[in-house]
Symmetry: C2
Subunit: 343 residues, 2 copies
């Protein structure tokens, strides 16, 4: 994994925003790595695994528990609850459009969706499985999974932790929302955005938000390679009342991965897609309303105090980024006849 | 609610089985009470509520957590896990075809699906909401629900606990599996059942299993009214090794509702539908395999020791009762912009 701290980009913000930066619609398909092509059978297998609580120690937590696909792709709470009612330290990011992020997790410690999928299953306060081997053993105890792993991956020993992650990542690549009002506007429907949203669209560019929240996913330049992180210091302008009010500096972000002083309070730039429905906000879920989140970001990242009108316009624009969530058929989780598997 | 202990039926078993008792296919539609007609919008609302963990105290447990519609309609574990990682005392019965039961819960204490739906939400070890009023308040905090309750139920104050239960029950009435091999056989496809399954079908009638496991849902006579329970003592023939081995008598069943001595160890007769995929078995989930469950039932209820061949035949028949699970589109849970609702 290659973590590139692009702090330098922030200092080029003035330059960037003066250029003819173009907003971009979300592609209608997410990219997939060459060694994990998308197939229908793999999507179906990944969907089952994503919704299967048997991937957790005590059979109570699935990927979907915290990244709720039936909702905004998150659990809409400050921090998530894992096995044994344990609370995590960071707010669950949405799984919707995660396929367009160049690194995963708030601190970007996973390069790909595949890498990410392997984390929470083994995290003691999330899904709590003791080891990858135990996960594989459990999957091997479910005949319907063994059959599908064989079909999807082939080979002598297809039920592996890597393949499990590949299947989940493949399902996640279908979780995209390319038909927001903003996207329809970008594709030519000039009535798709309200006047207020258009004013907000101009504003986020003029004041510099889009120097970080750029690209089709508003989470960084579109040509970043997988694993090439796009980070920003938060707060960049420390010292405002918000630091203490929302406890913004306690979690050191990327530093907790690299132990480099320059990475203190560095965070992967999160997407704006569906941001209006993914409250509460920030890595610690400390801010409930989008209005307040916009004010905090303007102050801490751009050292700007916005007027209520400006906030309203930006929020109107952000609301235009809420996508149409595709209809998804529920998976059928494979049966375990004659055993309860989890006790 | 009217609980009628039909112990007498057991003692008439010999008589019943000598009659020309006919097996019956499952109806293709579940019955609905007059005051809660099935509508498309109500099914959709009920589906959302069924899958919404925000109906639990801490936002971690939904109806689906224990009655997993993506699986066998249960959580396939001895006892379920509720909020704060608390374990319940009884095994979650399947929600599939619960619409054909005349009473709900293992002890039949709820007359209808509507009554049942109100229980777990307020049960401190299940979903743990402190009161019906708090549930209603939480629903009222989700604009998308308020809108749907208005549309579905109308009136001045449509968001009520009763209406919530009505919506959930309506969704549950769609959770039926009328196309098992057995049903196809009963509808004329004589090849749908294997020779072994047919032998099992004859056997369950000849030895008396069907004196209780009767009717289209194999859970009692088909003409029972809503709330008219169909109970049986388990074990009826106490004293076998199984009593202790599987701790069959510790939970007093219906007695815990009525406090009548005659109701000690009385249980509602559970369905056979999908029984092959709902391990583990019995009210306490103490038995893992269907073979063993069949042996235990023959011994404790009919005082019969079955041969391995007989067990195999009965299990083959029971396997023919696994239905085709209909495809269901995932609900979209209504958003809560600007608030996390559950912390």
């Amino acid at each position: 994994m290659k973590i590139v701290s692009k702090t330098i980009l922030f200092f080029c913000a003035a330059l960037l925003t003066s250029q003819a930066w173009a907003f971009e619609a979300l592609p209608k398909q997410a990219p997939a790595p060459k060694d994990n092509p998308i197939t229908k059978a793999k999507i179906e297998l990944g969907k089952q695994l994503f919704f299967d609580p048997r991937l957790s120690k005590d059979g109570t937590v699935s990927c979907n528990s915290c990244h709720n696909v039936m909702a905004s792709g998150t659990d809409n709470r400050p921090v998530s609850v894992g096995v044994d009612a344990q609370k995590g330290g960071r707010s669950a990011p949405t799984v919707w459009n995660a396929a367009f992020l160049s690194t995963q997790f708030w601190d970007g410690r996973a390069a790909s969706l595949e890498d990410q999928a392997k984390g929470p299953i083994l995290n003691p306060i999330e899904m709590g499985m003791p080891s990858a081997d135990e996960v594989v053993a459990r999957i091997k105890g479910i005949p319907g999974y063994v059959k599908q792993f064989k079909k999807v991956f082939g080979g002598k020993d297809p039920v592996t932790y890597d393949n499990l992650a590949k299947a989940i990542a493949t399902f996640e690549r279908t979780l995209i929302t390319p038909d927001s009002k903003f996207d329809r506007y970008m594709r030519g429907d000039k009535k798709a955005l309200s006047k207020k949203a258009k004013a907000g669209m101009k504003l986020v560019k003029d004041i510099g938000c889009t120097s970080c929240h750029t690209g089709p996913n508003f989470s960084g330049p579109k040509n970043l390679k997988v694993g090439e992180g796009f980070f920003q210091k938060f707060p960049t302008f420390s010292g405002s009342n918000y630091d203490k009010k929302y406890n913004l500096m306690a979690d050191l972000g990327l530093y907790s991965v690299t132990n480099k002083d320059s990475d203190k309070n560095m965070w992967r730039v999160p997407t704006w897609r569906n941001v209006a429905v993914t409250a509460p906000y920030f890595h610690n879920g400390s801010v409930q309303s989008l209005d307040e989140a916009v004010k905090v970001m303007a102050k801490t990242q751009l050292n700007k105090d916005l007027t209520e009108q400006q906030v309203g316009e930006i929020v109107a624009f952000l609301n235009s980024l809420t996508g149409k969530f595709p209809k998804i058929t529920m998976p059928r989780l494979p049966d375990t006849p004659n055993t309860s598997l989890v006790n």
